[in-house]
Symmetry: C2
Subunit: 278 residues, 2 copies
């Protein structure tokens, strides 16, 4: 059996904790894993905790008692968060993404797994203090963000569909009015995809009037599930009547002008939510 | 400025390398980051490398010379890979997932980000030695796996769609024959979603005759892109005529019997590919 030294333990422990966010790991587990005394493990964890907190990697919660241990909570620091939000705003202002009809091409942003991971960590920071059982999104552009957030929270993802596929089994469907186009549409979720009574975080890439988010909330009530929050990457400007009022956004479009080929974006409300969390 | 000790550097370095897979990081970068001599950084990296390799976290390549540095390649070890593949097979054999028509419900597997990450690491191990610019999949069930793999390879994802949305800009479309149903269908990819000449890994959750994979290959040739490989989570049993022959699969359905409520799954060919890679 390998004889572990502190230096080796620190490397492996950092890896292990990062792979198991929001999960309570007992001191005994580490003590067995490294064949080391609990007092040494405690000292290791103090070092990990210090670096995680100083470097803005996240926090390491210590739970005392017989069933105690440590829990790694991925977080992002204020300055790094502000930079990330600014970076997204600048990307959004690239006029090359303007499409006919005032739509914005977003797949270059959504298509970058590392960027999604960072944004996921930002959302995971804001919702770190809440009990969340599942992240829910609607196919397809919300999926990358939903998985990035769920991965940091260590919970499963439920994907709502606008069509009905044979591979989903029995589904629960609702009709909803898309807020901006005022069209009646259908969305469905596989019955076995969500536990009754689950506490759910709703995620999407874009929100205009919030009809889709409202629809997901209605769908959740069919599952007797609870909405913990709503997170969107980008919210639209100039919305007359929003159908949801409590949501967290990374960026807000301030002005989209197709004739002048100009997009203006500003930080969403996430920075305020982050401050409240701190 | 913080005075870094070896113990702290090891924690932060492990975090940093895990966040930047397949990316060359110079010794100078670490030397500046930790305000430490390159000789100390080299010793740190030797410790990290040893633990990463012994624990099956991945390998740490050292590139010598002025533009040299280190590169972390996420990998999975043979024994852990075999266990993961076995675990997927057992999950697939759960008869509760049988749906009318012999379809299998898979969203419980695909909906788990941590499980997807592990499978992503397995695929990333098999394709670690090849130059890959992008991972491509088709909406929507291939998306979680595609992001998991792309995240380990540190490349973007291109998502092919079966519909045409205004938010994609100009798209390149092709018709393809779905192998099993012999129906003509259309798939499209946003023109700006993939660079001409890119080297692409094709990913999907399920493959029967391979019509969809074949379609993606045809679509790639429209972009003058090159297919580096094809990875699927599950391949179907009893396929008379496969439209692609070079692919990597995690599991293979050996028998799906709706009357007897029975599913048999066996490891796909990935374990052989993994051995070849080693």
């Amino acid at each position: 059996m390998k004889k572990w030294k502190r230096s080796g333990r620190l490397v492996d422990m950092t890896h292990f904790l990062k792979e198991h966010p929001h999960q309570l790991v007992s001191l005994s587990y580490f003590s067995d894993r490294y064949d080391s005394a609990k007092s040494s493990i405690s000292e290791d964890l103090t070092i990990v905790k210090e670096v995680f907190e100083e470097q803005g990697i996240g926090s390491l919660l210590t739970v005392a008692g017989a069933s105690g241990g440590v829990k790694y909570i991925p977080k992002i620091q204020g300055a790094e968060a502000a930079e990330l939000v600014q970076n997204i705003c600048e990307k959004l202002e690239d006029k090359e993404r303007l499409l006919p009809g005032g739509y914005l091409y977003m797949m270059d942003i959504l298509g970058k797994p590392q960027l999604m991971k960072e944004i996921g960590r930002l959302f995971a920071t804001v919702f770190a203090g809440q009990k969340i059982d599942s992240v829910m999104t609607v196919a397809m552009k919300g999926i990358p963000l939903a998985y990035a957030i769920a991965s940091h929270l260590n919970v499963p993802v439920s994907v709502v569909r606008r069509d009905h596929r044979v591979t989903e089994g029995s589904m629960v469907s609702i009709n909803y009015v898309s807020g901006s186009a005022k069209r009646i549409q259908t969305m469905s979720l596989a019955r076995r995809s969500l536990q009754e009574g689950a506490r759910v975080l709703i995620v999407d890439d874009f929100m205009k009037a919030g009809g889709t988010a409202r629809g997901m909330m209605d769908l959740l009530s069919e599952f007797k599930a609870e909405v913990v929050g709503i997170g969107v990457l980008v919210e639209a400007e100039d919305v007359e009547e929003r159908l949801v009022d409590d949501y967290v956004s990374i960026a807000r479009l301030a002005d989209v002008n197709n004739q002048q080929k100009q997009v203006k974006a500003e930080p969403g409300n996430i920075m305020n939510k982050l401050k409240m969390e701190e």
